[in-house]
């Protein structure tokens, strides 16, 4: 479709006119702007402190060192503990995996009910759930902290899993509802006539159709939960801190010599999982962003 858009303009559009050169120059400039921070991060993480102080941040390391990476992973100090990021990385995995799985599953079931088994007031229920996506989470921090305390879940992985599921449901439900609306109701009717029940239809008919939206939702939730900082920093004091909180502690620690290469290696380690997912499944990531198109 886009290929044919300006075909009315004829061959003029494809020749390398001055306008085309300018276009590519501007696009190229922005490529540099967007990639520069990543380049500087990688470069800095591979330099020793001496070179960081004497050289320019834009120059590529003269002598490559992976010592900052080893330290960031295994022995950097987060607060008073000097065991690196590996433990926090693992905590983030333990928070993210169940929270993503459960919130996605709930979203799928909810979307199925809200589109194929409609009942009175289902739209109001959906609107109420959708609204939950938009609240500034500051408004739930205090009661959540108290509730987690009462349940004995403060500073635990389970506590953060619970929080991420609860505040993820709105989105996952939205994604699946919008997807299932496009699935013909006749499919469900025909299966009902054949004697299939609620769960059979969901498992046999809906789920196999849902692979694309499952991918979109899983990627979305994974990115959101892995990157979360607010819940992590509010509910994990003295306990199981996710990697974003640990990274902030490393970067903002005021003791000792500031090791910028360590900061950069730590930041890359914290950002790598979502970055890898984005590079390999960016298409689905973009679809989540724009199809929901209601997220902050």
């Amino acid at each position: 479709m886009t290929e044919s858009r300006f075909s009315a303009a004829g061959a003029a559009g494809t020749r390398m006119t001055f306008g085309r050169w300018l276009l590519f120059a501007v696009l190229g400039l922005f490529v540099l702007v967007y990639l520069m921070p990543l380049y500087v991060m990688v470069g800095t993480s591979l330099k020793d402190l001496e070179e960081i102080r004497s050289g320019s941040m834009l120059s590529w390391p003269e002598t490559l060192t992976i010592a900052p990476w080893i330290k960031a992973w295994g022995s950097a100090c987060v607060g008073i503990q000097c065991e690196g990021l590996k433990g926090y990385f693992w905590i983030s995995v333990q928070i993210t995996v169940p929270a993503v799985a459960i919130s996605t599953l709930l979203g799928a079931v909810n979307g199925y009910v809200l589109t194929k088994w409609r009942f009175r007031f289902d739209n109001i229920i959906f609107a109420l759930m959708l609204f939950g996506c938009f609240i500034p989470f500051q408004v739930v921090l205090l009661p959540m902290a108290r509730l987690l305390g009462m349940l004995g879940l403060s500073g635990t992985i389970s506590g953060l899993v619970l929080v991420h599921i609860v505040y993820g449901i709105g989105f996952t439900t939205l994604f699946f509802r919008n997807f299932y609306i496009g699935v013909p109701n006749e499919l469900v009717k025909a299966a009902t006539i054949d004697g299939a029940g609620f769960l059979t239809i969901f498992i046999r008919i809906m789920l196999p159709l849902s692979i694309p939206i499952i991918v979109v939702t899983v990627i979305w939730q994974f990115t959101q939960i892995w990157n979360d900082f607010l819940f992590g920093v509010s509910f994990s004091a003295g306990g199981a801190q996710p990697i974003t909180v640990a990274l902030n502690n490393i970067v903002n620690s005021s003791t000792g010599v500031k090791e910028y290469n360590l900061d950069m290696a730590s930041a890359i380690i914290a950002g790598l999982p979502t970055l890898i997912v984005y590079v390999f499944a960016g298409r689905y990531f973009v679809r989540g962003l724009t199809s929901g198109s209601v997220k902050g």
Binding site: M1, T2, S4, R5, F6, S7, A8, L23, L27, V31, Y34, P37, V40, M41, I52, R53, S56, M57, L106, V109, V113, W117, N123, A127, L128, G132, F134, I135, P136, V140, L141, L142, P143, A145, I165, V166, Y167, I169, T173, G197, F198, W226, N227, F229, L230, S234, T244, N252, D263, M264, A270, G271, T274, V279, G282, F285, V286, L289, V294, G296
Partner: protein
Amino acid sequence: MFRWLQSQLPKIVLAPSFAAVIVFVYGFIGWTAYVSFTRSKLLPRYQFEGLLQYRKLWQMDRWYVALDNLLVFSVLFILFCMVLGLLLAVLLDQRIRVEGALRTIYLYPMALSFIVTGTAWKWLLNPGLGVQKVVRGFGFENFEFDWLVDPEMAIYTIVIAGVWQSSGFVMAMFLAGLRSIDDEIIKAAYIDGASLPRIYFGIIIPSMRPVFLSAFIVLAHLAIKSFDLIIVLTRGGPGYATDMPATFMYAMAFSRGRIGLAAASATIMMVTVIAIVVPYLYSELRNKGND
């Protein structure tokens, strides 16, 4: 009994999620709103005290600084994200062969945590070794760039990092909007001899009003919630020069032990978001209902 259960199964399956939303969203909002009307300090107290906390809040210089910063940040953040996003989308819409790769590059910051983005920009904007040193290296010996530690300018460093992270997302939204416009209209305009800029400014961009609105809502929402970026870049400092409502609330709730005040500020944030989002959601749902 079994048949009844079976017929109620859809509602039973939906019930836990709905109950969770009622408790954790609406119940908690109610709790916070109520506590904002009490004298709660380190621990919540439930005796109603009226607008006490709000009066205190509006007497605090720090709160005004936070609101002022939010305003400055929101305006600049939304403006730059929109302009950049639209520019990139229009440029990418010109039948570029490497469009996919370019789009991936413009959008990758969105996959990163604000904490990671903040760490990167904290280093780039480092007063001693960052941009300042690079520009001096180019021969501008007296170049000064220490916004990160300048109370007047620090807020703009958060704008820079925020725009870098989010503008690609706005581009993706605009690009999707551009692609959904009927080609026939554009071809007709071409045949009538309209120039490319005229087609964009006269036809395409005006017809993307809903996309502008969505982008605005998303960005405004991001701005009001901005927390991570501030914490990692400036920790609200120097002093409280870059405080925003979200960091203000966090400081009152978790380090100052002033729960009532924290609840009042959170309630104000909530009301602000409602004022922006509810009319939008309402019109969205109503339009969808008409389809």
